[in-house]
Symmetry: D2
Subunit: 244 residues, 4 copies
């Protein structure tokens, strides 16, 4: 048995949004390693979802996080999980002048609104379950305003919203037994980061204390620790970015 | 002539969004005291707008900040101002469970999206004007995540978005000669604050270092200073909240 | 074998400053559970140190963190550890008017200067060792300025210094393979917290999202995770405070 | 009469620490422009102090901010001012490994301890004066941990201490009618900045939104506004750094 593996305690269940992304896939792998079954959402990547489900023994479900009604309907069809991990996001990497309203609204819907909807859903399910144990919601974002390096305006706005929402959710849901925290990633060696900041990746690497991009596995390690081991961090942003 | 009054230099012009609100009205008064002509937007409060225009010699124009196309059209009909002050906002004060999607989307549109739209408009006009002097955009928000006291989730998200967007706008527009900063107010003795946090106002007062709510005039003083006197603060949030 | 226990990989060694405090003792227990040998410093509490050493199989050494030369001498007599955990601190809980210069200077020496000294020592040892693996320094502090509730002035200053020093150390030592991070605790149910804020503990509990004080074991869990599992968090403050 | 000049209201008086530095000199000039008499401290630069006193009609007094007893004695000999501006600081620009304990302790004493001492002195005088109007303490620091770019460790620690102390002082002294705020400067075109970060100045400029260093006059403008016009900002750090 490997270190960190869940052995003995009643098996927990997880729901993951954004499971086919690079961070989401690493989270699914880490959950499987800990012998935790996950239902995970996918949108465009049906084939990848099928492969991940088969590889790790999880189950996949379709969900369109850009659409509030569709998001709610897809969540309502799922059983109540112990932990929810939201690691879906879109980039909105245009300059301010070029940022069109449809891209902006889609970024708000996927990056922020869907996190609000899943929080509402989890809180409602938790309240109805007369649960005696806590539940956990872990949001996953990227460089927020605690970093002083430039970010695309539309993306930055969604990340600031996520950070502030995390604090507010933490205050509102803490007394009810639901943990909410945010892992703010930096520049990874794959995924959204590459799309987001082609010109900026080098700047970020230069100014990061560790002088390298992170891996999805490193992100997944902190995310799952928060979802499964944390008992006293609440409403916080944890920056996992190599020292930017 | 009073201290602080603009005398001698070429008269500047201002555009104010949210002019009929309590902060907006105080800003219009302070601009008039400094002999600066403003065009200000109004939505529901046509009569108040007419009265303010008459009292201070400003001009009013209708604008629906919840609607992107309407916002752009209304801005396009205005002349290019030297300074823009955005102090429009809605509360979204429900608890997380009660927050409906329409209220959420309206809060994002008015509090954040309209700030993005006016930044795009000002940057575009500034770029076309071959200006040699700078322009200023001052956004006005409220308690952001640097304060650890509870806030309604939907409102908190919009304020986090504004803060992060301010930093990103500052980086993108600074090199082009446009200043962007945010004044984050606390609990005022009138206006949005009262609606937002009926139950919380007492908590906030108790924990504020000055033990009192602020006035719209105090808010307006900092806002106009930033819009008219600032030359080196950029992309920043200035908290004017009595020490919360 | 319990979950989380270190099994298989080459055994790491630890050095702990403040080992006889409530957080330090919990860290020593958690390190023992992970089968990691620690040398830990003590000052006034020789008997408690002896008991802890016996219970967990660690070794104790005397060190006066208020004295720079004594601190260096005591560190120089120790072997080079893989991880250093600094959880020593004094309260300086007087009001500003009553804070005398000797108490202030002692708080700076123990809470901040000794952290600087141990960072210098670890970096120097690490540089001399031609190490291929990383070393970790975890500092432990308390409520910093990201929380808006009142703190005693002298104590607050030392915590602000620690936070900023963590970021600077992270930038300087990251490229050399030394991780530096800070765990900022809130109000625990024992130890420094009780001394620090007798009148304030209730306020802090009321405003914490979890509505309870933390335990030393909860603090130790995050601290040891950072010291032993972290590979990409650098120069950061992690707030573990129940949602204050 | 120029805009911003104090005309009509009862003349205020100021005490400035660090008056012979580049920022301090600009503050003295701005105070003179506003017809406010200042007593200002000097240490090594007696000739410059004499010249500044003569030029602006202020009075100079010797003070050694590295020595607590000497600082108190020098302050006790001064009349009670309406506003105090502390803009004294030393650099401590060595790398962590090279930072010696004497340089570190001197930086803490001048940059932080003397700010604590002057706050104690002002609060004590204010309490004894049965004042009905407020007094203001404005501290002046530099890049704190809200900026993610590298800083020398010793200097960073003093700036973090100043920031956190400002918040704590604001909470403690606000109810007594004393305002305390901090202006955090960035990289100026002269003075401490040049010494502090010879290698880093170019990096900072590159990442600043305004792409230029600031001037001492720009710093003085914000500092004096806070000291003389502010009525509702309390316990805050205002970053005036060109968008770093």
């Amino acid at each position: 048995m490997q270190p960190g593996v869940n052995n003995g305690q009643a098996a927990k269940t997880a729901l993951v949004l954004g499971g086919t992304g690079v961070v989401g896939s690493a989270v699914l792998k880490e959950l499987a390693r800990r012998e935790i079954k996950a239902a995970f959402g996918f949108h465009a990547s049906g084939d990848k979802a099928k492969a991940l489900a088969a590889e790790y023994g999880h189950t996949a479900f379709a969900i369109d996080l850009a659409d509030a009604a569709a998001t709610r309907a897809a969540l309502d069809a799922q059983p109540t999980p112990d932990v929810v991990i939201h690691c879906a996001g879109v980039a909105a990497s245009q300059s301010m002048i070029e940022l069109d309203i449809a891209t902006w609204q889609r970024a708000v819907a996927v990056n922020v609104q869907s996190a609000l909807l899943v929080a509402q859903w989890l809180a409602s399910r938790h309240g109805a379950s007369e649960a005696t144990s806590s539940r956990h919601l872990v949001l996953v974002g990227a460089l927020d305003r605690t970093q002083s390096l430039p970010l695309p305006v539309g993306f930055a706005a969604t990340q600031g919203a996520l950070s502030a929402m995390t604090m507010a959710l933490g205050h509102e849901l803490g007394p009810k037994g639901v943990f909410v925290n945010l892992v703010a990633l930096g520049v990874l060696d794959s995924g959204l980061s590459r799309e987001l900041m082609s010109q900026r990746v080098k700047e970020y690497e230069t100014f990061s204390a560790l002088r390298r991009r992170g891996t999805a596995d490193e992100a997944a390690k902190m995310i799952t620790w928060l979802a499964l081991e944390n008992t006293y961090i609440q409403g916080k942003v944890l920056s996992v970015n190599g020292g930017i």
